[in-house]
């Protein structure tokens, strides 16, 4: 590839043709401020925060300006500084500056820019429109008064997820990023994946905060409050306490949960192993009974809602397995309650999830047993971090020793990888291989299934059975894969879909990684590496070899797919197409 020589603030760098000034400057160790820019997602040069002097008559937006041979870039001239400051002041002039009480304070790109550029007050006092907040959904809260119209949210929703639940409405001063027809997000095809929250540089899109419900439960002496953290939480929670992206903090996480006052610390990882037992069994049954195939995984609530809205004809193809979170909840309120001699109506199950859509899943009417909700409260990784901070727990100093409780927390290496795209498939194949081969297969790693490519395919032959499988991460990739299947261009036995790009590690409830950091680290890759390390560190790496899984089938459930298993661990879906 042709290399171009450019000089940025006196530093000479050589970069491939097509590189933007913003990226080239990074190589010269110059960080140009950005606001609407989000790598690979929103590169539209709209906000003008990244303007630089490229020797032309007008300043150029570095995020969309490709370098040319011999270009001399100045990023710090008086004209550049004044232009950026003016842009920022204009944005601030009608921004609702409630930073003290804003959940994004200290993690707000606008606030950081104001600090970095030395904008302490704005010369312009703009008119404000007081928009109502949209708080009707169980997952997301939209506050248009904080929106700066950068369009990062709608770019990820429309272009990556291929949903477009929100868009630019109206024009000029009255422009809003909102659902169409003045609707609440709750009345749209939004799947609550929360990718818009992760893209938002400010506090205009946030999760519905459920932490007070958790505090109330913990402080109620009548209640037995049990918690289950999802796999992806343990490789992201540390980021909220200054640790590098992808740091494994499983031990510290359990210690913090104990100190917060949860009565029992269980693990969604146990239910991940349980899911494999049920789902692998369901797949083998479907293959034996001629379908319907392909079978699609059902762990991701965003994917389920997407399928219900857009492909209702595929609902019979969705695995009937509940998500691991719901399985764990159901097992806690039946099997564990029975073993522990506890009245299930006194149990409050709290789930800590990398996910905003889990809040919606928690509210689904069918997720109950004998009049009790199977999961009572679902909070995100970010909400757990806020609870830990408000309790004054010094997270980084906690011991690394895991303090899970007995019976429904033990897990194998097949469980943590659920949090990365391809992980459910890999875990399922580990078990299917042993069943179909009729022996313990030594190889447990299916590397072709790993990585952040939107669509992945593999073909394996196990015990004479040929299995073609595929994986899609992001609803946009799922849409493309389904189109291929429908057009007859591809056919599979088993398809894993996760609504979020990269899987749960990049879920809408995870710690927010700024646009600037995303230029250096891909959280999807760094956090997945943490999960694969967690897998390797386990001595048992196949779900069916988990001793507590064997025990629950022996003593309670019978066989995978039994009537009892169906009653507790399986569900049904709703056609939401209009």
């Amino acid at each position: 590839m042709a290399m171009l020589n450019v000089t940025i603030d006196g530093v000479k760098v050589s970069v491939p043709a097509g590189t933007t000034v913003l990226e080239a400057a990074r190589q010269a160790n110059v960080h140009i401020p950005t606001l609407c820019y989000l790598k690979d997602i929103n590169e539209i040069g709209a906000c003008r925060m990244c303007v630089v002097d490229v020797g032309a008559r007008a300043l150029a937006a570095a995020c969309v300006m490709p370098v040319s041979e011999g270009m001399v870039v100045k990023t710090n001239t008086p004209a550049v500084r004044n232009a950026r400051k003016a842009v920022l002041e204009l944005i601030l002039s009608n921004h609702e500056r409630k930073c003290l009480s804003c959940v994004r304070s200290h993690n707000c790109e606008l606030q950081k820019l104001a600090k970095d550029l030395g904008v302490e007050e704005t010369r312009f006092e703009g008119a404000n429109i007081n928009y109502p907040m949209d708080q009707l959904s169980p997952s997301l809260v939209r506050d248009p008064n904080k929106c700066i119209l950068c369009r990062r949210c709608l770019a990820v929703c429309r272009n990556v997820q291929k949903i477009g639940a929100i868009g630019a409405v109206d024009r000029g001063f009255k422009t809003q990023i909102a659902p169409s027809f003045n609707k609440s997000i709750v009345d749209t095809n939004c799947v609550y994946c929360g990718q818009c929250i992760n893209a938002c540089p400010v506090g205009a899109l946030i999760e519905k905060d459920d932490t007070q419900k958790v505090w109330d439960a913990i402080s109620d002496p009548e209640k037995i409050v049990v918690v289950q953290p999802a796999p992806a939480v343990r490789v992201a929670l540390g980021e909220e306490f200054g640790m590098p992206i992808g740091t494994r903090v499983t031990g510290k996480m359990t210690q913090a949960l104990k100190r917060l006052g949860f009565d029992k610390i269980f693990d969604t990882d146990f239910a991940a192993d349980l899911t494999i037992m049920e789902e692998a069994n369901e797949l083998l049954e479907r293959i034996k009974n001629n379908g319907p195939l392909p079978m699609f995984t059902s762990c991701s609530p965003g994917w389920i809602k997407y399928c219900e809205h857009n492909f209702p004809e595929l609902l019979p193809n969705l695995s009937s397995c509940k998500s691991p979170m719901q399985m764990e909840g159901a097992i806690i309120k039946t099997y564990w309650a029975e073993k522990a001699g506890v009245d299930p109506s006194k149990i409050v199950t709290v789930a800590v999830m990398p996910c905003t859509s889990k809040k919606f899943e928690t509210s689904r009417p069918e997720m109950e047993l004998g009049g009790l909700r199977t999961v009572d409260i679902s909070i995100t990784t970010r909400e757990l971090a806020r609870m830990i901070k408000s309790a004054g727990i010094q997270f980084a100093q906690l011991p690394d020793e895991e303090v899970f409780d007995e019976l429904v927390a033990e897990s194998t290496g097949a469980a943590p990888i659920f949090g990365a795209t391809g992980g459910v498939m890999e875990a399922a194949l580990r078990t299917a291989a042993d069943v179909l081969e009729g022996r313990s297969v030594e190889n447990v790693e299916y590397k072709a299934l790993r990585g952040i490519e939107g669509i992945k395919e593999a073909e394996v032959t196990l015990g004479g059975v040929n299995l073609k499988v595929a994986i899609a991460n992001s609803t946009g990739a799922a849409k493309e894969l389904i189109t291929r299947i429908k057009n007859g261009d591809a056919s599979y036995a088993f398809v894993e879909v996760m609504a979020c790009p990269g899987g749960c590690v990049n879920g809408g409830g995870q710690p927010i990684v700024s646009a600037s950091k995303r230029m250096d680290v891909d959280p999807r890759v760094a956090r997945a590496a943490g999960l694969y390390a967690e897998d390797e560190a386990k001595t048992i790496r196949k779900s069916h070899e988990n001793p507590d899984i064997k025990k629950i089938y022996d003593e309670y459930l019978g066989n995978p797919g039994s009537e009892k298993a169906h009653h507790l661990l399986h569900t049904h879906y709703t056609n939401r197409a209009k």
Binding site: L154, R158, G164, G167, R171
Partner: protein
């Protein structure tokens, strides 16, 4: 679906079939849809979205960006209040205010009974009669706000 509506959707489908593979087809399709239906109801926007395989938010965004697209049906009588310079200095804002009060709608909207649509418009070219309003093709000039109720009453009958 009523027979009339069915015919309208068939006409819309023909427009979409004709244009959908052209680059930049969305705006012309929306314009023709508005010609067919008189405005762009939610169902029509959803229909176009489905046929073009784009999010309805794309269509709604365009429909709310350009003033030429109507999201509501137009009234039987379209009232245009001239806000050109001459009319404006002669008090057309007061006339508009009075109309909003009598019709109980803001400018740009249609009354619930479907009788009136109230629009503030640019110069109507009758500056000698300022301030001027038009009700469909009828012109009323040299108006004062107190004349408004009687004019509206005429059309209500």
């Amino acid at each position: 679906m009523s027979l009339e509506n069915k015919e309208k959707y068939e006409a819309l489908q023909n427009v979409i079939d004709e244009l959908k593979n052209e680059p930049g087809a969305l705006m012309p399709i929306m314009q023709r849809a508005q010609d067919i239906f008189g405005y762009l109801p939610e169902d029509v926007q959803n229909y176009i979205a489905k046929e073009l395989d784009i999010p309805v938010s794309d269509i709604y965004g365009v429909a709310t960006f350009y003033a030429q697209f109507n999201l509501e049906p137009k009234g039987k009588y379209i009232i245009s209040v001239c806000m050109g310079t001459a009319c404006y200095v002669k008090g057309s804002q007061l006339v508009l205010d009075k109309l909003e009060e009598v019709l109980e709608i803001p400018a740009g909207r249609t009354t619930a009974d479907g009788l009136f649509t109230l629009n503030a418009t640019r110069c109507l070219g009758a500056c000698g009669l300022a301030p001027v309003i038009m009700v469909n093709d009828d012109v009323y000039g040299r108006l004062t706000p107190d004349q408004i109720p009687a004019i509206i009453e005429k059309y209500r009958r």
